[in-house]
Assembly symmetry: C2
Homo-oligomer: 337 residues x 2
């Protein structure tokens, strides 16, 4: 980003300093912004907002250091149906462990249901069961080992319905939105219900976002102290649920200030949107992605385990927030066809 910025600026400076009079447009350096968005309210709202907060001449101008945008991940930046991808990783990893060794937990529920592919038992999984499974798959002697396992899985695993690699199921228009915001000096954060360690394994490469800017639910880590050396173990013990009001707590803790823009897709993103718009004296843009495309992706809102968007949609409509209708607003859905 900096190199691109400097490159553009360099050109401008040269033009000015050498005394040439022609006005130089830098827009041709970049591709068309939001190219996979159809013209319509969603695209217009986003571009008008970015234009306003970056134009020093307007009342709505926001300094670079305050141009903070928060994205949810599952269902906002990549696919989350029929289940969030992290659950497929957890299931695959626990099965692999069970086939390679003997563990006490293999015979216990909810792990037993996963290891034995007991679909009937899985249907009655509680939220606690899901956390236990995700946690068990996290446990590793070193935090880096866990990241390597996730990436090894992503290299070969395919989505159970769409049949493509999970990283191919990142939304192309959202990558364009990330790039567009980056070009306008927004600081981009992910604040997701998914686990921080799971996302940090692959999301920096896929989204171009630093690990430090990727915030999620956490499982406890444990310091292993030896003489003159210290390691960090990843445990399976659940620590923090980064969803609903947990996202508000995380924004304060990890970012330290309110974002001016939030992009999400479910009721779990509503609290951080309300927090971001409560008692602020600057422009804000709240954006919901509505999954309306049963042909290219999935159509879901009310009829889903994760990604429910009911209360959030009501508030968004009442407040005039921006709603992206996937079916109508996107010319393409995924980054790789």
């Amino acid at each position: 980003m900096i190199s691109k910025f400097v490159k553009v600026l360099g050109v401008v400076i040269v033009m000015v300093s050498c005394g040439e009079n022609e006005t130089t447009s830098t827009s041709n350096v970049f591709n068309e912004p939001l190219a996979s968005f159809n013209d319509g309210t969603a695209k217009e709202n986003i571009m008008a907002f970015v234009s306003m907060v970056t134009d020093e001449g307007t009342e709505g101008y926001v300094e670079k250091e305050n141009r903070i945008v928060v994205f949810d991940n599952d269902g906002t930046l990549w696919v989350e149906q029929p289940l969030p991808s992290q659950l497929y990783f957890a299931a695959a990893h626990l099965k692999q462990l069970a086939s390679a060794g003997d563990y006490d937990w293999e015979a216990e529920m909810p792990y037993k249901a996963i290891v034995s592919d007991d679909q009937e038992a899985m249907k009655s999984f509680t939220k606690e069961d899901v956390i236990k499974i995700v946690g068990k798959a996290h446990a590793s002697a070193d935090v880096n080992t866990f990241g390597n396992l996730v990436n090894a899985w992503l290299d070969t695993a395919t989505h159970p319905v769409l049949g493509r690699k999970y990283t191919d199921l990142v939304y192309k228009p959202m990558l364009e939105l990330l790039e567009y915001l980056r070009e306008h000096d927004f600081q981009i954060y992910i604040v997701s219900g998914g686990s921080m360690e799971f996302m940090r394994a692959w999301a920096p490469d896929v989204y171009g976002i630093n690990k430090a800017n990727i915030i999620g639910s956490t499982f406890k880590t444990k310091v292993d102290q030896n003489e003159d050396s210290i390691g960090l173990e990843q445990t399976e013990e659940f620590e923090f649920n980064d969803d609903h009001s947990g996202k508000v707590v995380s924004i304060n803790k990890f970012i330290g200030q309110k974002p001016i823009m939030v992009v999400g897709n479910s009721d779990g993103d509503l609290e951080m949107m309300e927090y971001a718009t409560t008692d602020v004296g600057y422009p804000t843009l709240m954006v919901y992605l509505n999954h309306t495309d049963a042909v290219r992706e999935f159509e879901y809102n009310e009829k889903t385990l994760t990604g429910t968007l009911v209360q959030g949609k009501k508030v968004a409509e009442k407040n005039g927030w921006t709603i992206i209708d996937m079916k109508k607003d996107w010319t393409e859905v995924f980054v790789n066809k």
Copy 2:
């Protein structure tokens, strides 16, 4: 930083693009680096390290995104004797509250000792007592209110021994070190035992470090949800102790990767230094500031409540880490005389 960087680069580009042949040095744009350091091992080690990790031609080159440096705060970037400044704020704030209203806690220890200036009782304070006092001073209806209170106090309060404003007691050579590292594209983080909210109130302005990069001990926050609006309350309940091995946990959680350089001043910084140097395949620089200057500041190591440096010094000497001797290595100590 970016504007300075761009300015320098702009000059270079202009010179080249306009076809002038003279070589342009950009070094005159900056002041002499580390100007308040005397020549000696400490300054040499720091400059040799920065030179190595930023020179693409060396084996020790480290990409910008991995040039992460972590600083402790109390006793590393500003004064911490006879007690960390945050305690003076807490005492002043609790006294002010007690004089202005009626609270149940006024009659309870340890708060009673503070409100009634009971020096004898304060001498037997436990660590838990100190946390209770700091916590009680944190409690406020809104996280921003707390920051405003801290800044109002800093505007007028003076240090009990040195008689100057606390922000005047920031170490000048350390500000120069921050600037020097910033110029070399290091990402700077604070990882401190002091409270995150206390530091985030003033440290962004004083050190030029974003709130998101300021990590410390935390007291819980509480989400206050009303219809269509959400606030975040700062409670007095202790959440996380960001000291000793807690700093290792924080580095993983907030930064997501090991720093290549750590600067601290006490045994509480030893674990993060050992973590940063365990099993890594790139150069690292561990720096301890040793408080040896009884005339200009304080001489302490073993004989102190906070800022003890005993085990850390042993490990530093054994491993050949860099030790800044305040008395010998610094021509000036504080940013404002």
